[in-house]
């Protein structure tokens, strides 16, 4: 059966594949981001309840809000570390370019 959890795991595997085969550092960082997206989908699937409503209203069945709350925190961590990683890639590239000039 296709549900959010299974699709999330497939996306995580796609990210892992990217880490194993992509040689560019930026692509490797994107691969880690793909793992993160898969993880978010997996957690969304955990909280999903068939026919469930908003958890802030008094309804009979509501989706579990906790996985969504956790994922908001995870996304903040993800954005912070990705930007840090991208800054590092830029600096590594600059450093290598300058050392290549020096070698020449």
């Amino acid at each position: 059966m296709i549900d959010a959890q299974n699709v999330g795991i497939v996306i995580i595997l796609v990210g892992m594949y990217g880490l194993m085969v992509k040689k560019e550092l930026i692509k490797q960082l994107i691969a880690v981001n793909i793992i993160s997206v898969g993880l978010v989908l997996f957690f969304m699937g955990l909280g999903y309840v068939e026919g469930g409503g908003f958890p802030i209203h008094p309804v009979d069945t509501a989706v579990d809000p906790l996985p969504a709350a956790l994922m908001i925190t995870t996304l903040v961590v993800d954005v912070a570390i990705t930007s840090l990683g991208l800054a590092m890639v830029i600096r590594i590239k600059k450093e290598d370019a300058s050392s290549e000039v020096a070698d020449a």
Binding site: K23, L25, I35, L39, I92
Partner: protein, 510 residues
């Protein structure tokens, strides 16, 4: 009160960030930094005598809130954290004295301080993940800021794999939540049943934590990170940052069923012990030598977790944190003065203070009595028998062999190297871990263990054999520098190794 400990460090980190806007004087920056380091220590001294206690943040019910508390395990980890940060804090004030970016370094160190205190007091696994990430982010930036030639490349690799491991850990948290409906460790323990999903979740969590703790075969990021960092950063990474995943593994071992995984962890622990110590023997860079020794001795912790000897693991983690911090600070002080990290060029012969410190720390690293490490080793050994016991002692023989080699080479002096003629603050701070470990060893374990003497004799005999065969003349492994493209390639190979290990552990956990 526990929250105040964490908040104090964060407040002073924020104030240090503000100092960049207001052109504050150097003593002011140093004072803010030291307040951020020491005020949580004072707060802990006030609450520590109160015994084991816990509470839920915001006064919520335990089932819906984040529980924080201090028990026997977290007390030891917190004590190690506060000792290591106090020492490194004072050392860093002297080390970064003239550095124009010192407030950034200090601020990042305080963020790491706050995050690690949070890690060791939380009872919520998601909170543990977030705080561990906060500590890791500080570590990535501190490594990248360090002056080493390849520090950014080392930091990038550390970031890439640490982040992947964190996401795998989060995946396991999701699986545990789906099975138990809780994130609180004690509630998970009370509601957990035997299921295939839990086995897989625990397996994934352990693989992620093995990578973050830098244990063989997922240690590949560690030697480069250590050798490219500044002395205080390296001491913090070796001493404390790697204790956070150890604490996470310990909590999983206590509250979640290990089942088949214990046997696998035992094999991995012994493999790490021998791999790390053998690799350390072939290193020329003193920090890479210590990094590989540390990879080896982290295997001991994994063996303790496999035997579910949890309190012994906490004692060993404390002792190992202090000894590695001490060794990195002492060798860092020597190498900064003598402008080399090559163990063949370094010397402590004329510096009695450094000589005494390094010898005492070497004894502690080899877990010989009377040191706290010997006490922790005596606790760990109780869960082992037969071949496991022989391998365990064999690992310590190898660790002692590395220490004998290091001290033998440090004793050589060609007379050209400078040394401290007067005792300075960095030497004094570097010596404190040695004094602390021996004092605690004399208090907890004032006995001479015959097995220790045997281990020392075996290591000494092998070392004499090595000298007589001129094996020490072998120049060791030179570090291969990596370029931008090569970094991408090696990351691919390491990723394959990482995921292959994950599949192997999951296969075993099934």
């Amino acid at each position: 009160m526990i929250v105040i400990m964490v908040a104090l460090a964060l407040i002073f980190a924020f104030l240090l960030c503000l100092t960049t806007l207001f052109d504050c004087s150097r003593p002011m920056i140093n004072m803010l930094f030291l307040c951020g380091i020491f005020l949580p220590v004072i707060a802990l001294m006030i609450i520590a005598p109160l015994g084991t206690f816990s509470g839920v943040a915001g006064g919520w019910e335990r089932i819906s809130g984040i529980e924080i508390g201090i028990d026997g395990y977290s007390r030891l980890f917190l004590a190690a954290e506060l000792v290591v940060f106090s020492l490194v804090g004072v050392y860093a004030v002297s080390y970064y004295g003239e550095n124009p970016r010192r407030n950034k370094f200090f601020s990042l160190i305080l963020v790491m301080h706050a995050a690690l205190m949070g890690v060791f007091t939380t009872r919520d696994i998601f909170n543990l993940f977030v705080l561990m990430e906060l500590a890791s982010v500080s570590a990535f930036v501190l490594v990248a800021f360090s002056g080493g030639k390849g520090s950014e490349k080392a930091a990038f690799r550390y970031l890439l794999f640490s982040l992947t491991a964190s996401y795998l850990f989060l995946l396991s948290i999701g699986m545990i939540y789906s099975q138990t409906g809780h994130l609180n460790l004690e509630l998970i323990g009370e509601n957990i049943g035997r299921s295939r999903e839990i086995d897989i979740a625990v397996g994934i969590a352990f693989v992620a934590m093995i990578l973050k703790a830098g244990i063989f075969p997922l240690h590949f990021w560690l030697p480069d990170v250590y050798s490219e960092s500044d002395t205080p950063v390296c001491a913090l990474l070796a001493g404390m940052t790697r204790r956070a995943p150890v604490y996470a593994m310990l909590m999983f071992c206590i509250y979640l069923p290990m089942n088949h995984l214990s046997e696998m962890l035992m094999y991995v622990g012994f493999a790490s012990l021998f791999f790390g110590t053998i690799m350390a023997l072939f290193q020329n860079d003193v920090w890479r030598m210590l990094a590989y020794t540390s990879i080896g001795l982290m295997g001991i912790i994994l063996v303790g977790i496999a035997t579910e000897n949890t309190m012994a693991v906490a004692y060993y983690a404390f002792a190992h944190a202090v000894v590695t911090t001490g060794l990195f600070l002492t060798t860092g002080t020597l190498s900064d003065l003598q402008a080399t990290r090559n163990v063949r060029d370094l010397t402590y012969q004329k510096d009695v203070f450094m000589f005494t410190s390094i010898v005492m720390l070497s004894v502690a690293l080899g877990s010989l009595s009377p040191t706290l490490n010997a006490f922790a080793k005596s606790q760990l050994i109780t869960g082992l028998s037969g071949m496991h016991l022989i391998l365990f002692q064999g690992g310590f023989v190898m660790a002692l062999l590395v220490m004998l080699k290091m001290n033998y080479l440090l004793w050589q002096d060609d007379g050209t190297r400078p040394y401290y003629k007067k005792t300075n603050i960095r030497s004094v701070v570097s010596a404190i871990p040695a004094i602390l470990l021996v004092s605690l060893g004399l208090y907890f374990y004032p006995v001479l263990v015959p097995a220790d003497i045997l281990v020392l004799m075996v290591a000494g005999t092998i070392f004499l054999l090595i000298i007589s065969l001129n094996v020490l003349e072998y120049q060791g492994i030179e570090r291969i520098g990596c370029r931008f493209r090569e970094l991408g390639n090696t990351n691919n190979y390491y990723s394959i190794a990482f995921f292959a290990f994950l599949v192997l552990v999951l296969f075993y956990a099934f």
